[in-house]
Structures are given as structure tokens and as C-alpha cells.
């Protein structure tokens, strides 16, 4: 919303001179935030009225002419290329030497094709007073040569404030509302010219109100003898300063009233209305209408229209129809000033995707009372004055407007909400200034207040308290520390305990990933549907109105976001990349193996009914590493398996890596594994499938490794329990296994461990336990491929450590156990991984 300072000042009594900045601060302090200040026209004091005295051809140029003018001081010859220089005696706008035109264009004397020219005859676009660039400005004949233009049209020199008006203040969508508010703040009296409609004969047939529930009031005024033509300079300049285009006097008048009262008006060409009357009714379903801007609408039975005797002439409060618009030549007019139910206007505007200055204001709520009358009166007076029209009659039909609420304001409540008291006399001054009627004396503990109809936002006590606060000033609030009635932390709810625990876990995982050399990235939670194709059907959650297709589905996996980051890095610099991310993934129904249901988010019965309607959200901690294109660093599946175990270990979780089951199709089939804690899968690790990399335009030959942890599937680490220290040495046995390359070592180790667990034991005999160096009970010493081992196989050298808790063990008893373990394990392996044998 643009506001002219000059216009505002004209409605307020004289006061101390304020700079634009101070003026703006005062407006902002009212909650009408000034977002921009633009000063106009200071360079135009040297633009004056000049009289054309003589026109002669330019000796050297066909399209230029020499114009002798009188600028109030002397005769001057100006070279001019405009086609519309008036006959001698006509008045034009002349920029004297020294004038500064918009764009810091300084006018001087110069030679044009050999002829000395001093100053310039200006068009309105050159002066920044309009958009017309077709010629120079022709001024009224009555204007005296030599008078500075800004003296004749005060709106030329002005400061325009750009205001951000919040939806609760429709009254501030016009200059009157802003001036009223500011007058109270600055303690300057507010005054307006007469705002009553002129007496006119009653024309009850002019308006038929069929929908009193949708239209609270409708003023119709019939005018005749209007001449549609250009607006006077003061009007076109005022609109231009407010960035509205001057169209013709009739349209400009409605725009002027819109800017003044915040009240949208509409003018019909009455001669084009069937039977010259309007009906406020609902459209019939499918009824067609063409708007002023030529959009063809198919109306619904919920749309309120202003129709003539036959068909719709306007979509009420939104836009007029093409057929009944005022065009040059129109002379009989119907002026409409009405109040429509905000929700109805909003629905129609949305349904037909029409957002207009008019619907914007009706949606927020305009006045159905005094200001509606005033707006109609202002418009009519201007139509009479500027377009030569005369009113032949009118009608003011009442519908069912909302009742103006009466609000009880308790002074104690002001203190209760604000934490400060406001003196009674100040409260009275402010509310009265805002046109609130107060019933109650200064001594009363409470007042009954009736709010004006132009403030639909004032409906309850707190709203009036806010009015007092705005005007009394928030700077006066005392510093009162907040003291809870109950010490925080006294009640720990189960939900909060879980939330805190999860937050600690997430913090811990992130710190662990950071310590492991990973850089935390954040990527968008939505992605391109094609990016999720490699992951199969995950019951995706779709965004109905995405910004662009690339952001149209909520991610079911974290990998696409990190791969976009990787591609971005490789394209920019090619360095090694080690990214991690903590984030959520979304699905209507996650597959069973993807981590258990989110604990903290569905924790309460109070919200369970709504929560059941929402998609599922799961937390992920993940990372992606890549050596880059410069070969400075390299990663492999094993290094990343180590990294994911280290991350979990740093949050107190003893994890293992085991064969992937099921296999992830988006990871390399030969380089992937499952990550498990306590037998339950909590994540995956592996090399990203080359087909997936290609999809993200990662250069050929580049490998990337990825791991993800299903945070919701993680328990918290158990409290560590002391176990007796080993006081006696371990004895070890080496074992060389020949196993197919595709069989993971973990399979062999698991078989050996299981066989040992199942073997017969004496109470104090040897058991498979971590070795003296701290190595795992079954330690992988070597993974040999090559000479002596068949193709497709490898020789795995394992070392098994045995010890007893409280005595030394003998070679014989260890050997006996080892033999049992080995033979049983080989038997197991023969079935799960054929081809394994001891060497």
C-alpha cells in the first residue's frame, strides 16, 4: 500500500515539522510498517508554466521546430521535437535551465543541430508525472506563465511511503484510515470535507437486493450527462505517485476514492444495463460472464453477481463485466458503493483466480457504515465536478450487515495482559480518537465500548488493549522478568523425556559424524519424483502445489539430496567430498524393515486422532563420501563400514556389519552390507550403484559410498556393566578357510561363534574370548587371493582366541574345543555357503 505524505498532511491539523524518517517512524510505531520511503519532485521547482508565442521550422531538421515561449520572465527559443506543440497562446510545461528531471537529468542550454536551445518543453513521462510519452504536456489556458508547476499541483512534490498493511487493518488500506490513526498518535486533529450524499430523488427500482445475507448494503446512484475524458493534472499526478495509471476521469475517480477511503467502488455504463437496473443475486451454475480484462468465467451457484435484468454485469466485489464497462462516449452511469460478505468475495476471487484491488479490500472487510456513504459521496461529487455529470436519483438498500460489537474493557485487564497500566485519560483520548464510543466514566472499573464499523478487527477486549498499546507505546513496557508459578523441570512428562532422549541421540550422532571427518549438509525435504525411482514404490507423499516439478514429492530417502550435493561439488571443484546429513524421510507407509515407527511424534492421546491422518516421518542420519575427480583421496566399502561402526560406537552402541538381506537395489550388488545393533538392522552401508550415480550426472568412473542409520530404530546404549578382567593368558589357533569371494567373512565368523556357543563346555574350561591384544575372539588376519587359491575363492586366515576366566588353559583342552568348533562350523557353512572348506 502506497501512501502520499502530502495527502495525509492535508487531512491533519498543523503540527511540528517532521522529517520523512520521523514521520515514517510514527507510522511504523502504529503497526503500519513503513517498508520504503521515496521522495519525488524536488528537482521540479524549476519547471514552470510557459506560453507558446511562435512556432518556426528548424533550418536544419525536418522533425524539429523552433518554439518561442514566454516563461514569465523572458522570451526564450527552444528546439522541440514533439508533434503536439499548441498554437501560440497555448500553455506548456517548461523546464528551465538548472531543473533536475527524474533520473538526475540536469537541464541546461545546448546547441541542437546548430540552433541554441535553452531549457526544455517536457512531456509528463519526462517529468515523472505520468506514462504518456507521445508529446509535451499541454496545461490549462488559465495558468499564468512563470508559475512553478509544484505550486499549482502540490502532489508533484511528495514523499511516498510504502506500507506493509497486515490483514487485520482494512481501514488502513486508504489514506483516511492512516491519517486517522496517525492523528491520534501525533496528537494532531483530523478533519475531512463534507461526506454526506447530496439530496436526490429516490429510485427504488434501480437496485434489487436478492441476497441480503451476502450483501450488507448497496448504494446505487444514477448519473447523467457525464463526459468521459482525461483527468485534471492534480488527479492524474496523485494516482501516478501511487503507481496507478490514469485511464479516464471516471475510472480515475473510483481509483482516487479507493485510495482515499479504502472503499472499492464500481461504475457501470447504465445504458448498457438491461432495463437500466441491477439485481444483486447469486449466479446460476454454469452462467457465463466475461470480465473487464476479457477473462471468460463460468460462474457457480455460490458466486454473488451484480446483474442487470438479464445477465451478470459484475462478479460482486471482484471485477466488473466487459459489457457494462465505462468507455469513452458513455454518459449515463450507475455508481455502486456496497458492502459484500468478505468470505464470499474471497471464495469467488479464489474460485476464478482473480485477485484485484477490490477483492483484496472486500476480503479484509470494508466499512458498511459512514465511510461507505462518504466514499459514494466523494465519488459522486467528483463525477459532477470533473465529468460534468448530474445525479438523477439513487437508492440505499440495507441488507444484513454484521452487528457492531459492544466490548467490555476492564482496566484491570489492561494490566493483566500488558503488565503495565495505562492512565484512564490517555485511554479515553486514544479510543475516542479512534471513533470508539465509550460508555463509562473515568472512575469506572470498566467501560462498555462500541467500535466503529470501519474497524472489523476490533471484536474483543484484547483488541482494544492492543489499540491502547499501539498508541501508548510499547517502549514504555517495564522490564518484568518472567517467573514461572512452578519451577521448570518439576514435571517431566514421558513425551518430553523421549523427545529429550531423541535430541541427545541425534546430537550425539551428528557430533560423531563430525568427528569422523564428515561435513554436515542440509538439503531440501522435497525432491524430483524421478530421483526416487531407484528406490521402488515407497508410497510417496506428494506436494499438491509444488514450486516446480523438481520439488514435487517428499523424499523417502536421504541419498538423492546428498547426491545432488555431490554432483554440485564435483561440477564446481572436484575435490573429495565427505557429507553427512540428519533429516527426516516421509511416506504414507514405510516398508517394515525401514526402522520402527517414529517414537516421539506419536506420543500423545490428545493429538492421536489428527496424527493418525498424517503421513509417517522417520529420522535418518546418513553420510556420503567420494574421492572426487582429482584423486586426492579414496574411500572404499570397508573404510565406510568402519566409519559407520565408529559413529555408532561414539553414541555408545556396539554395532556390527553383516551381509545385506534383503539387498538394496540402489547400492552396488557386491559392495553393501547391513548395519545391526543387538541383532536388529539399524541401517545400511555400501557403494552407491553406478546406475544411480549416472542419474545424478556424476562423471563416469567416480565412485561414492553411502551409509544411513535409521535413528528411530536405535535404542539408547545400555549402561556399561563391569566384567572381570582377564588374569590368564589366551591361547590361539589359526584357521585357514578357502571360501568363495561372495561369501562374507561375517558368515564364517558367525558360524564359528555359533558352533562355539553350542559346543559342550565345562564350568571353568576355555571359551572363545577376545585375545591378549584385544582383538576380536575370531580375528581376520589375512584375506588372500591369488596363486594357490582357486578362481572365485579366497583364503581367509582366521585366528581364534580361547581363554578361561580364572585359570590357565592347556593346549590339549583348547585343541579339543577348537576341533569341535571347526567341524560343527564347517557343517553349518556347507549348507549356508557351499564351497567353504578348511585348507
Amino acid at each position: 500500500m502506497l501512501i502520499s505524505r502530502q495527502w495525509i498532511e492535508s487531512m491533519l491539523a498543523e503540527g511540528p515539522v517532521l522529517t520523512d524518517e520521523t514521520f515514517a517512524d510514527a507510522i511504523t510505531s502504529l503497526g503500519l510498517e513503513v517498508e520504503g520511503i521515496t521522495r519525488h519532485g524536488d528537482g521540479l521547482v524549476d519547471v514552470v508554466v510557459a506560453r507558446v508565442d511562435k512556432i518556426a521550422p528548424h533550418p536544419d531538421a525536418d522533425k524539429l521546430r523552433l518554439v518561442d515561449i514566454f516563461d514569465g520572465q523572458r522570451e526564450i527559443t527552444v528546439v522541440c521535437g514533439a508533434p503536439n506543440v499548441p498554437e501560440p497562446g497555448g500553455k506548456v510545461a517548461f523546464a528551465r535551465s538548472g531543473a533536475v528531471l527524474p533520473g538526475d537529468f540536469v537541464i541546461g542550454a545546448r546547441k541542437i543541430r546548430g540552433v541554441q536551445s535553452e531549457g526544455m518543453l517536457c512531456g509528463e513521462d519526462e517529468l515523472g508525472l505520468g506514462n504518456d510519452g507521445s508529446g509535451i504536456m499541454i496545461l490549462p489556458d488559465a495558468w499564468e506563465p512563470g508559475t512553478p508547476l509544484p505550486d499549482l499541483v502540490p502532489g508533484i512534490r511528495d514523499t511516498i511511503f510504502e506500507l506493509g498493511i497486515t490483514p487485520n487493518r482494512p481501514d488502513a488500506l486508504g489514506h483516511v484510515g492512516v491519517a486517522r490513526d496517525l492523528g491520534v498518535k501525533l496528537q494532531r486533529a483530523f478533519s475531512l470535507p463534507g461526506v454526506e450524499l447530496a439530496e436526490a430523488p429516490s429510485l427504488p427500482d434501480l437496485v434489487t437486493l436478492e441476497q441480503p445475507k451476502r450483501c450488507g448494503r448497496y448504494i446505487g446512484r444514477a448519473l447523467e450527462g457525464a463526459r468521459v475524458g482525461p483527468s485534471p493534472l492534480w488527479l492524474s499526478v496523485r494516482l501516478h505517485r501511487l503507481e496507478l495509471r490514469s485511464i479516464n476521469n471516471v475510472v480515475d475517480i473510483t481509483n482516487y476514492v479507493l485510495m482515499m477511503w479504502g472503499q472499492p467502488l464500481h461504475v457501470f455504463d447504465r445504458s448498457k444495463l438491461a432495463e437500466g437496473r441491477v439485481v444483486v443475486r447469486l449466479a446460476t451454475a454454469g452462467e457465463p460472464m466475461t470480465t473487464l480484462d476479457d477473462a471468460k468465467l463460468e460462474l457457480t451457484a455460490e458466486d454473488l453477481v451484480i446483474a442487470d435484468a438479464k445477465r451478470p454485469a459484475a462478479l460482486a466485489g471482484v471485477m466488473g463485466g466487459a459489457d457494462s464497462g465505462v468507455e469513452p462516449g458513455a454518459s449515463t452511469l450507475l455508481l455502486e458503493a456496497a458492502w459484500f460478505v468478505p468470505g464470499g468475495v474471497r471464495s469467488s476471487a479464489r474460485r476464478h483466480q482473480l485477485a484485484t484491488d477490490s477483492s483484496y479490500r472486500f476480503e479484509r472487510g470494508v466499512d458498511y457504515g459512514a465511510r461507505l456513504t462518504a466514499a459514494a459521496a466523494t465519488a459522486e461529487a467528483l463525477l459532477v465536478e470533473l465529468a460534468g455529470a448530474s445525479c438523477i436519483g439513487g437508492v440505499d438498500v440495507a441488507g444484513e450487515p454484521p452487528a457492531a460489537p459492544s466490548i467490555v474493557l476492564r482496566h484491570a485487564c489492561v494490566q493483566r495482559v500488558l503488565g503495565m497500566a495505562i492512565p484512564t485519560e490517555e485511554a479515553r483520548r486514544v479510543l475516542t480518537g479512534l471513533e470508539v464510543q465509550i460508555d463509562g466514566s473515568d472512575a469506572d472499573a470498566q467501560w462498555t465500548c462500541v467500535v466503529p464499523t470501519h474497524r472489523p478487527d476490533l471484536v474483543r477486549e484484547e483488541d482494544l488493549i492492543e489499540e491502547l498499546m499501539r498508541h501508548y507505546g510499547l517502549d514504555r513496557l517495564p522490564d518484568t522478568p518472567s517467573v514461572p508459578t512452578e519451577p521448570p523441570g518439576l514435571r517431566v512428562t514421558e513425551g518430553q523425556r523421549q523427545t529429550d532422549e531423541l535430541a541427545r541421540l541425534e546430537d550425539g550422532l551428528l557430533d560423531a559424524m563430525r568427528a569422523e571427518g564428515l561435513h554436515e549438509a542440509l538439503s531440501f525435504a522435497f525432491c524430483d519424483p524421478s530421483e526416487l525411482e531407484p528406490f521402488g514404490d515407497w508410497q510417496q507423499v506428494n506436494v499438491s502445489n509444488p514450486l516446480r516439478a523438481q520439488l514435487s514429492v517428499m523424499r523417502t530417502h536421504m541419498l538423492p539430496g546428498l547426491l545432488r550435493g555431490l554432483a554440485n561439488n564435483l561440477a564446481k571443484h572436484g575435490r573429495a567430498v565427505a557429507l553427512c546429513e540428519m533429516g527426516r524421510v516421509y511416506s504414507w507407509s514405510f516398508p517394515k524393515d525401514a526402522g520402527r515407527i517414529d517414537r516421539a511424534l506419536v506420543a500423545s492421546e490428545a493429538t492421536a486422532e489428527i496424527d493418525a491422518q498424517l503421513p509417517q516421518e522417520r529420522r535418518r542420519a546418513c553420510f556420503l563420501v567420494c574421492g572426487g575427480t582429482r584423486g586426492a583421496q579414496s574411500f572404499d566399502g570397508q573404510s565406510e563400514a568402519r566409519r559407520v561402526l565408529a559413529v555408532l560406537s561414539r553414541v555408545g552402541l556396539a554395532a556390527t556389519v553383516r551381509p545385506a538381506n534383503p539387498m538394496q537395489t540402489w547400492l552396488h550388488p557386491g559392495v553393501q552390507a547391513a548395519v545391526a545393533v543387538g541383532g536388529e538392522q539399524v541401517g545400511v552401508v555400501g557403494e552407491v550403484h553406478p546406475d544411480v550415480l549416472r542419474r545424478f550426472e556424476i562423471p563416469e568412473g567416480i565412485r561414492a559410498h553411502y551409509a544411513e542409520i535409521w535413528v528411530d530404530a536405535l535404542g539408547h546404549g545400555d549402561v556399561a556393566r563391569y566384567a572381570a578382567l582377564p588374569n590368564f593368558p589366551a591361547t590361539s589357533r589359526d584357521l585357514s578357510l578357502e571360501i568363495p569371494i561372495h561369501v562374507p567373512a561375517a558368515v564364517a565368523i558367525e558360524a564359528l561363534s555359533a558352533a562355539e556357543a553350542a559346543a559342550p563346555h565345562t564350568a571353568d574350561g576355555p571359551r572363545l574370548r577376545p585375545g591378549d591384544t584385544g582383538a576380536d575372539a575370531v580375528e581376520v588376519v589375512d584375506d588372500y587371493r591369488g596363486k594357490g587359491v582357486p578362481d572365485g575363492c579366497r583364503a581367509l586366515l582366521l585366528r581364534l582366541h580361547y581363554r578361561a576366566a580364572d585359570r590357565s588353559v592347556t593346549d590339549d583342552e583348547v585343541q579339543a574345543l577348537h576341533d569341535v568348533v571347526l567341524s560343527n562350523a564347517l557343517q553349518t557353512l556347507a549348507s549356508v555357503a557351499p564351497g567353504v572348506r578348511a585348507r
Binding site: L474, R514, L562, L614
Partner: protein, 363 residues
């Protein structure tokens, strides 16, 4: 010759001693020293063998021989010990002679980094926990009832236009507006959840990801917000301001004033925007501000976010009696706080995962 044997043996002892003295001087390491020890005084060593000849001596010579033997033995022991010390000292010297150039640190540090937004979130959580607030969170995909209706943003009301909303299709593919699901446009639905889930007094902050249909230099379709909520008896606008003041001062570590300006947010009444004194403006030694700076564009104030007294309708909608309890709430953008704090010029840097950007935030 009465005592030839004794003399011979003694002579042999002296010869062994001389041989030992010569040998021990050339021993270069502990192993060789041990060999020497075995060679001379081990069970079958040359000196030990001579001791076996004592039996062949005349009894009267035995004492003298014994004394001579012991003396040689002691000298050899002492020689071995001395040599052992010398070798240890030589080793120590050699070890101390080692030189490593510690200034040649490997170029790439192994430490990762934490995203500036996460850093800021953590710092905010720390400060508000200190002020007695619980940290809570909620789902990113919300029902309109919590994201709008219960926050006094009814359907078909222009207040909904204040936030450009992403809608989400329903489970069965129902178009977004009919499914009543949205990507939460603010963290305020967590206020509603909290008030529904726990009776007053309530003191919480909610932090997290929010979404708005907006994308330009200063707006990202996904960003992060923090929201504070306090509902209790005798809660006023004044202690909202006081709490914001304490938060801002604790967060930036200096005494920064807070300014409230009236504004409108549907879920508060009265509502206000809040600004803080610019912490980046240059100051003199007494800590007095000298001038504006580029961050606050010379205004000496930085706009942070919105705040106000929880609207009675919102309390009502959550089953809290507004005649008994009052509350306040505030909210602001974490991303902006992070960019302010770390001097990040463009929001887009936050989300494109460039490691050259991320690694700048190691600590």
C-alpha cells in the same frame, strides 16, 4: 715350586679378566653383552670353570684363590653393569637425536563440521534450556487444524495469505486442499500440540524445519524457525519483552536491548514484531555504540521476528481458560540468525552442500 697350581690358576684368572676388559669395551648392544656375560661368568663360562679348579688346590691356598676369584668376579660384574649403563645411555642419546618436523602437518584436517543452522539451533536450545524452557518438536507434515484453524487462522480468511502454503495430497491421492494437509508453514502448530498435551504452566521452545512456497535471494522454500511459548498465570507482554531481552543478551553475550513494534499475527493479540539492538555495530572501549553498520544498514536495530500475547481464541481452542491463564509466544527464523552470526551473504549457500562452504564451520 710349592704353589704352582695356585699361581697358574690365579694367572689364568687375571688373563680372563684382561680378556673380559678388552671384550666388554667393544660390546655394542644388550644381546652381545648378555653373550659376554654367559661366556665369562655363565654356568659354563671361562671364569666359572676356573672356580671349579679350587678343589685341586691345597687347602691353605684356597682362601687366597677364593679372594682372587671373588675380586675378578666382582670386577666382571661391575664391568658388565657399567657397560650396560653406557649402552643404555648411548641408546637414550641416539633416541634423543631423532628429528621429526612437526610443522609439516598433513594438509587436510580429518575433522568434519556442523552446519551453521544446526550450530545456531544448538546454541538457541542451550540458552532457552537455561531460561527454563523445554525443547519440543512436531511433524513436518501437518493437519490444517493445527497449522491454521486452532491458531485463529480460519479457512477462507485473508490471514492465510500471509503464508504461501504447500499442500500435500491425501493418502488416497486426494488433492491437497481437500486432504487438509500442509507442509507446516511455521513451528506454531507445535504450540497447539504442546497445549493440547500438557496443562499449564507451559514453557517450551519448538525448533525445526518449515516450508513456504517462496523462492528468491532472501527466501528459501524450506527454512527453519524457532518458536517460544509461555502459558501461566500472570504472564504479561512486559515479561515477554523481558524474556526476549534476556535471551538476546545471553545469545550474543552482551547487553542488547529489545524493541517491540505493534503488528499482527492471527494467533496473538496484542501482537508485535521484535527487534534487537545490532550486536555487530562498532563500539568504543566503554562498550558504547559508535555508529550503525552494514548488517543493520545503519539503523542500529535488527528485525528478528514476531511475538505477542497468545490469542484467547487459541487458548480456548486448546482447552485452556483465558480468564485464568494468559500466555505469550514469539518466533523467528533460525536461518537468518545463522547467516547474521556467521556473515553468510546468500541463503542459497546454506542448502547446496558445497564442502568448501561447510568446512568453514569446524568449530
Amino acid at each position: 715350586m710349592l704353589r704352582p697350581v695356585s699361581d697358574d690358576v690365579q694367572e689364568a684368572l687375571r688373563a680372563e679378566l684382561e680378556r673380559f676388559v678388552e671384550a666388554v669395551a667393544t660390546v655394542a648392544d644388550a644381546d652381545a653383552l648378555y653373550e659376554l656375560q654367559v661366556q665369562f661368568i655363565g654356568k659354563k663360562g671361562s671364569v666359572s670353570k676356573l672356580r671349579g679348579q679350587m678343589g685341586k688346590l691345597a687347602p691353605e691356598d684356597r682362601k687366597a684363590f677364593g679372594m682372587a676369584f671373588n675380586e675378578v668376579k666382582q670386577q666382571i660384574d661391575a664391568g658388565l653393569e657399567r657397560r650396560k649403563q653406557e649402552l643404555a645411555e648411548a641408546d637414550r642419546q641416539a633416541d634423543l637425536g631423532r628429528i621429526e618436523d612437526l610443522t609439516m602437518v598433513p594438509g587436510v584436517s580429518q575433522t568434519g563440521s556442523v552446519h551453521p543452522i544446526t550450530r545456531t539451533r544448538r546454541e538457541l536450545a542451550r540458552v532457552f534450556r537455561g531460561l527454563g524452557f523445554d525443547v519440543v518438536d512436531g511433524p513436518h507434515i501437518e493437519h490444517e487444524l493445527y497449522n491454521f484453524d486452532k491458531l485463529n487462522i480460519p479457512a477462507n480468511h485473508p490471514a492465510r495469505d500471509m503464508q504461501d502454503t504447500f499442500f500435500v495430497d491425501g493418502r488416497d491421492g486426494t488433492a491437497g486442499t481437500d486432504a487438509n494437509l500442509v507442509l507446516r508453514t511455521h513451528t506454531s502448530p507445535v504450540q497447539i500440540r504442546t497445549m493440547l498435551q500438557r496443562p499449564p504452566p507451559v514453557r517450551v521452545v519448538a525448533m525445526g524445519t518449515v516450508f513456504r512456497k517462496d523462492d528468491d535471494r532472501t527466501h528459501s522454500p524450506m527454512f527453519h524457525q524457532i518458536e517460544g511459548l509461555c502459558v501461566d498465570k500472570n504472564v504479561t507482554m512486559a515479561d515477554l519483552k523481558a524474556t526476549l531481552y534476556r535471551f538476546v543478551s545471553a545469545f550474543f553475550g552482551s547487553d542488547l536491548k529489545v524493541r517491540l513494534r505493534p503488528s499482527f499475527f492471527p494467533f496473538v493479540e496484542p501482537g508485535a514484531e521484535f527487534d534487537m539492538e545490532c550486536p555487530f555495530c562498532p563500539r568504543d572501549e566503554q562498550g558504547n555504540k559508535q555508529s550503525g553498520c552494514s548488517v543493520c544498514k545503519g539503523s542500529e536495530w535488527i528485525e528478528l521476528g514476531g511475538s505477542g500475547m497468545v490469542h484467547p481464541k487459541v487458548l480456548d481452542a486448546c482447552g485452556i481458560d483465558p480468564e485464568v491463564y494468559t500466555g505469550w509466544a514469539f518466533g523467528f527464523g533460525i536461518d537468518r540468525m545463522a547467516t547474521l552470526l556467521h556473515g553468510v551473504p546468500d541463503l542459497r549457500l546454506l542448502f547446496d552442500g558445497d564442502v568448501r562452504f561447510l568446512e568453514q564451520f569446524r568449530c
